[in-house]
């Protein structure tokens, strides 16, 4: 059985992530130490609430360096919603917080003229070379997003008052601004492809 460990960034929505992975046959555990982050075959970084609150939880658990190392090494890691944003340097949402800073890019709020939060289903179009993402519809619930695709990463794009990176991948790291666990069969297939990488890399 594929074992996946979840970083407890907060309480909201964790049940949906656990349910989504469990339906695909994964055993899900919750991480508590930096050692767990290093030894886990697959790590999920779910995002809830605000950038600052999620980053605060990670720092108070002492997981910052271990997560950064893991992501830089391209080891199987799935970052969802605010979890993806945490890869950046910082966010307009919480100006006093520093992110995991794996990326130089920052996170900003959607502009005027569109519904915010972006709440609902939108198209995701992968760039050439994507190993995880197929074109399709994903469920979003976000007011902020990364500005652009960083160098060295393969992106996917979505349009909400302009194009933004809705997914990033490098090695076995997959970051999604949308919620794959809430994106129906399309999302389940995406999670399954990532779980296969967890199994193969273990």
């Amino acid at each position: 059985m594929k074992t996946v460990t979840i970083v407890p960034t907060g309480t909201a929505n964790t049940a949906s992530v656990v349910a989504g992975l469990t339906r695909l046959g994964a055993a899900v555990e919750v991480i508590s130490t930096a050692g767990d982050v290093q030894s886990a075959a697959g790590v999920v970084l779910p995002g809830v609430g605000s950038f600052g609150a999620a980053m605060g939880r990670i720092e108070s658990l002492g997981l910052t360096a271990a997560l950064r190392e893991r992501i830089e090494a391209g080891r199987p890691t799935l970052a969802v919603c605010v979890g993806m944003q945490l890869l950046g340097r910082g966010s307009e949402e919480s100006p006093s917080s520093t992110g995991l800073h794996v990326l130089e890019e920052t996170v900003s709020r959607f502009g005027d003229g569109v519904i915010v939060p972006q709440m609902g289903w939108n198209r995701v179009e992968p760039d050439p070379g994507s190993r995880f993402v197929e074109a399709g519809w994903a469920y979003f619930a976000n007011s902020y997003r990364l500005d652009r695709v960083p160098e060295g990463w393969v992106g996917s794009s979505t349009d909400h008052g302009g194009s933004f990176p809705s997914a990033l991948e490098r090695g076995d790291v997959l970051a999604c601004q949308f919620h794959p666990e809430l994106s129906g069969q399309w999302g389940a297939r995406l999670l399954d492809r990532w779980l296969q990488r967890v199994e193969e890399a273990a």
């Binding site: 907060g10 309480t11 909201a12 929505n13 964790t14 049940a15 949906s16 349910a19 989504g20 469990t22 339906r23 809830v48 609430g49 605000s50 569109v114 519904i115 915010v116 939060p117 972006q118 709440m119 609902g120 289903w121 939108n122 198209r123 519809w137 469920y139 979003f140 619930a141 976000n142 007011s143 979505t158 349009d159 909400h160 008052g161 919620h179 666990e181 809430l182 994106s183 129906g184 069969q185 999302g187 389940a188």
Partner: protein, 251 residues
């Protein structure tokens, strides 16, 4: 902008069963919540709303179990409301498997509840459910399952709620609920024009044309209940009709 308009089946839950009434009264049994939710997802539903209409503490306990059971099978978003009085209540629903939590009566009595939930769980988790009844000038907020009319104006209340953290408005016309006489389009227009967050139209759907009208009036999503539970139509049929009317939906 390509964000799709949503079709959202609503399951009113009492003592672990789906029920449906007219203007919140005369509830009749409409099936098992897990079976209904799974069926509607298969038909192409974009999200499921569960409204706990139990009035008792025992009923509330049932509701948490129902949320957990539905979550296990559901791979689309689950929004849950009914009886939420505190951020801790919201936390329990989220832990049980909800993705969003709706607040209604308790937010009217204590508006700071909106900010408390938004700060702890995010605005995207915080849904303001508003039941509006038409009056001589505009719409009055009604609470306690429609039993009590407040002096609050619906449009003003929505504007205020969004300013303090509501990330979505579930807007029900009390006059139309369960009547199948079409959504209250003026109500949808007035609220959609006043806020920047998504508005879900609720109350009165009978056929696809009603959903088309609601989205034309500014709703981001249309809630449906009676017409699905009675088996008169499917989410798939409704979405086909929306597509034919030029509205973008997730296929």
């Amino acid at each position: 902008m390509t964000l799709a308009s949503r079709v959202i089946p609503c399951l009113d839950i009492k003592d672990g069963r789906v029920v449906k009434g007219i203007r919140f009264q005369g509830l009749r049994d409409a099936g098992d919540p897990v079976e209904c939710a799974a069926l509607y997802e298969q038909q192409g539903a974009d999200e499921i709303v569960l409204l706990d209409v139990s009035a008792t503490p025992e009923g509330r306990g049932h509701a948490l179990n129902t949320v957990g059971a539905v979550r296990t099978v559901l791979s689309i978003p689950l929004s849950v409301g009914g009886g939420v009085r505190s951020a801790d209540d919201a936390g329990r629903l989220l832990e049980a498997g909800a993705d969003k939590v709706g607040i209604n009566t308790a937010a009217v009595s204590r508006p700071v509840l909106i900010a408390e939930i938004a700060e702890r769980f995010g605005t995207q988790c915080t849904v303001l459910a508003v039941d509006g009844a038409a009056g001589p000038t505009g719409w009055a907020v009604v609470v306690e399952s429609g039993m009590k009319r407040t002096g609050l104006d619906v449009v003003e209340w929505c504007r205020k709620a969004v300013a303090v953290g509501a990330g979505e408005i579930l807007l029900t016309s009390w006059d139309r609920d369960g009547t199948r006489s079409g959504y209250d389009l003026d109500l949808i227009r007035s609220v959609s024009a006043a806020v920047t967050v998504p508005v879900i139209a609720s109350g009165g759907a009978d056929r696809a044309g009603h959903l088309v009208e609601a989205i034309g009036a500014g709703a981001s999503a249309a809630l449906i209940a009676s017409i699905l539970h009675d088996g008169d139509t499917t989410v798939g049929d409704l979405k086909q009709a929306l597509t034919a009317a030029g509205i973008v939906v997730r296929p």
